[in-house]
């Protein structure tokens, strides 16, 4: 990659774009999909699986495509461009990464294979009420019960938790630390209440009451670091989705300015508006650059490097997403407020992505804490 994509990556992008344009190129189709449960298209999800898009970062022996995170990022960008409601980042990025990093060989083959084939939807039950983007569990407890384990606690919001076939659940271990478990969606003691999410998807409150759970990987291990890296992975994939969204939100805005007439002339006659579009472009370019860089780090870096990159990209993309999302609606005027017109969904999804894994101020706080530890930030070595 190195700021240029390989031919294979370009082909992947073309294939994904063709598929997604067919599915959602007409925004009305996207709206119809989000209006009905489960808030995404299982058909599109299957097509993405057929394309190989759901197993890109996983090794072939685990049932994946043996490509990498850069390839997954390409798909995330394309999903963003049509603001597709499929739960890609959480299923592939978050759940997939957790299983890939913590699972036994057998679990990896089974779960990652099922993710890659689109056979099973895997959700992550990690967030809890009152907690903010922490890599640890709070009030959800895991208890060892003879040979087996059970989980007790409430998780929310769980993206697509209402229909997930399988959950990766974080829970406090008896000895302390946060463990990871697999819980079947239809296991007894799993109760789920699903809500429409602001972005058109669905989130659930999942209550585990003595629910039967299988440790992910070896039992009783503290997986806080694994969760942290998986959250960082999701942050970087989410940034890629956001870049796709912002690109199209800006294009929609410039098209609107060129076509919409007011006071007898098209809006691009008003310099105050075109200059603001130029500022949106500046935000987009900077966000794109740092996202491409962070994705390279995700592909090749160690956990500390990925963590640093995730913070930096989260800050920049959070700022850019708010700027571009807010201005896209404002420059559209009234029409931008309507659900029938696409641009609002782009802004909404930017807002949701910003808050799923940690917003800009959250990232800035972490960066500020460490700012005294080095002279300057140098991306070349």
């Amino acid at each position: 990659m190195d700021f240029e994509y390989t031919d294979d990556q370009d082909s992947l992008r073309e294939a994904a774009r063709a598929l997604l344009t067919k599915a959602y190129g007409d925004y009305g189709k996207r709206r119809a999909v989000t209006q009905a449960d489960p808030g995404y298209s299982t058909e599109t999800w299957s097509r993405l699986a057929e394309l190989g898009g759901l197993g890109l970062p996983f090794s072939e022996e685990d049932g994946g495509a043996g490509a990498g995170w850069i390839e997954a990022a390409v798909v995330a960008q394309e999903l963003g461009r049509v603001v597709a409601p499929e739960p890609y980042v959480v299923s592939v990025g978050l759940a997939g990464r957790l299983v890939a990093d913590a699972g036994t060989a057998e679990q990896r083959a089974e779960v990652l294979g099922a993710i890659a084939s689109g056979e099973r939807l895997v959700a992550v039950a990690h967030d809890e009420p009152g907690r903010r983007w922490s890599p640890t569990a709070g009030d959800t407890k895991a208890t060892q019960d003879g040979e087996g384990w059970t989980i007790e606690g409430v998780k929310e919001p769980v993206v697509q938790g209402g229909v997930a076939d399988l959950f990766v659940v974080s829970a406090v271990l008896p000895e302390g630390g946060t463990g990871l478990f697999l819980v079947e969606g239809d296991a007894s003691g799993v109760e789920r209440e699903s809500f429409p999410a602001a972005d058109g998807g669905r989130v659930a409150r999942v209550t585990f009451t003595a629910a039967t759970a299988v440790p992910l990987g070896s039992a009783g291990e503290n997986r806080t670091a694994t969760i942290a890296t998986a959250l960082d992975t999701a942050r970087i994939l989410a940034a890629n989705e956001a870049v796709g969204i912002m690109e199209v939100a800006l294009r929609m805005t410039t098209e609107y300015l060129k076509s919409r007439k007011q006071f007898g002339v098209t809006l691009n006659t008003f310099q105050a508006l075109t200059f603001r579009a130029a500022d949106m472009y500046v935000s987009l370019e900077l966000a794109t650059s740092i996202t491409q860089w962070a994705t390279m780090v995700l592909e090749d870096g160690d956990a500390a490097a990925i963590s640093a990159a995730a913070r930096r990209v989260a800050l920049q993309v959070s700022r850019a997403g708010r700027h571009i999302g807010q201005e896209a609606i404002q420059l559209h005027g009234g029409i931008g407020m309507t659900a029938e017109y696409a641009v609002g969904a782009y802004t909404t999804r930017l807002t949701t992505l910003d808050h799923l894994f940690g917003d800009g101020t959250y990232a800035l706080g972490a960066l500020a804490d460490g700012v005294g530890g080095y002279d300057a930030v140098d991306p070349l070595s």
Binding site: P157, E193, F195, R205, L273, G333, A339, G344, T347, T351
Partner: protein, 400 residues
């Protein structure tokens, strides 16, 4: 003006509710203090608590809630204080109107329906025939008639003068055809005040009239528009050969542009949503404090900066009040709308950040924060967009 104030050297008394600020406060005169106490007492005891709770928590109000609240206000004479006294208004000072508005917002009381009390009411009082006044003013104040606004059209947003809905005289009636849009809460509307083109042959502004239309008439159709927050508060209103009696014309034929300018320029006191934004900021702060987030200096600084800007805005509103006694709005009025909406939006954004992951969806306050944030994007678009406000400031105030 502003003789209501008496500055005093004694330290300010702690406010009746909540913890004291560290701020020195401008001391009201005894009379205005008493007035404020009366308002506070009224708003916090006579308007149903469950309605105020909904407002405080950002939940949606039903039509019944809004009507009940306005009736409570109107029964006490507090729904239309800025109307002429003979039609139910109050002989209050500008400062008292400001206090009324701020206390109402602070108590989470839904403000009286603007279409009734700020828009068509004053228009009828000024331009309406005696028959129209007699027929409409009382039920407009009491919200027995719910008014909708029919100004905007699909191809004439800020460029109102381009409107195309036409009214053609046929006998004594006007026959109306066309389409209005962005009609807020039009689904509840009994009547709609419209701008219609009555003379297509003259310069754009010159051929416009204002017509009152009964929304139950044949040919009137209200179609909801879904907004990006999932709500349906705005509507399209279609008119197909609607026959409107001739006496439903306000003022003269082709006087509509003058009336519209009067209507749009008529909001002076309370144009900036200072009180409700303060309430929402205090709420966001309380929630951040409960979750421990306020101990993060960056969030604390965001709160402090917003509080300071709101203070400056509120003081500007007081300055405008103090300097517009003679009826001519202070030039800074346009600042209130512009900065007021910016801060309103910034506070709603802060609340989403306070909610964090819970803002994504669910059934709690956190999940409601995102739709509210999205809904409030309208604040800088509707009612004279912030671009229009900048234009007004540049042209009218700065002479550019």
């Amino acid at each position: 003006m502003m003789d209501g104030y008496v500055r005093g050297a004694r330290p300010p008394a702690p406010p009746p509710e909540g913890r004291a600020t560290t701020l020195m406060q401008l001391q009201l005169s005894d009379e205005d203090r008493e007035f404020r106490a009366t308002m506070r007492e009224f708003f916090t005891t006579k308007v149903p608590q469950e309605i105020r709770d909904k407002v405080a928590e950002g939940r949606e109000l039903s039509k019944e809630d809004i009507v009940a609240s306005q009736k409570a206000l109107n029964d006490a004479g507090y729904a239309v204080p800025h109307w002429p006294v003979q039609y139910g208004g109050q002989d209050w000072t500008q400062l008292q109107r400001h206090i009324w508005n701020e206390e109402m917002q602070a108590a989470s009381v839904p403000p009286p329906l603007a279409f009734n009390t700020s828009m068509i009411g004053p228009v009828l009082a000024q331009f309406g025939s005696d028959e129209l006044k007699e027929r409409f003013l009382a039920p407009t104040a009491s919200l027995d008639i719910w008014w909708s606004q029919g100004f905007s059209e699909p191809d004439a947003g800020s460029d109102l003068a381009s409107l195309r809905t036409r009214a053609v005289k046929d006998g004594d009636d006007w026959v109306v055809n066309g389409q209005k849009t962005w009609t807020t809460l039009g689904q509840y509307g009994d009547w709609i005040f419209t701008l219609v083109r009555t003379d297509p042959d003259v310069k754009k502004q010159a051929g416009i009239s204002m017509l009152l239309i009964d929304m139950t008439l044949p040919g009137v159709e209200v179609r909801p528009i879904e907004l990006i927050d999932g709500g349906h508060e705005v509507n399209e209103v279609w008119f197909t050969d609607v026959r409107v009696p001739g006496d439903m014309l306000v003022g003269e034929v082709n006087q509509g542009w003058t009336i519209a300018k009067f209507l749009l320029g008529n909001e002076r006191v309370g144009v900036a949503p200072v009180g409700s934004t303060k309430r929402n900021l205090a709420r966001a702060k309380r929630l951040a404090q409960e979750s421990g987030l306020l101990s993060d200096p960056l969030y604390a600084a965001r709160v402090a900066e917003l509080e300071n800007e709101l203070l400056a805005l509120e003081l500007t509103a007081l300055r405008v009040v103090a300097n517009s006694a003679e009826g001519a709005p202070h030039p800074a009025s346009s600042v209130l709308k512009l900065k007021g909406t910016v801060l309103q939006q910034a506070v709603s954004e802060l609340l989403v950040d306070v909610a964090g992951p819970q803002s994504v969806g669910g059934d709690g306050w956190g999940a409601r924060s995102t739709p509210t944030y999205l809904n409030l994007r309208k604040a800088s678009i509707y009612g004279g967009s912030n671009e229009v406000q900048r234009q007004i400031i540049a042209k009218t105030i700065l002479g550019l």
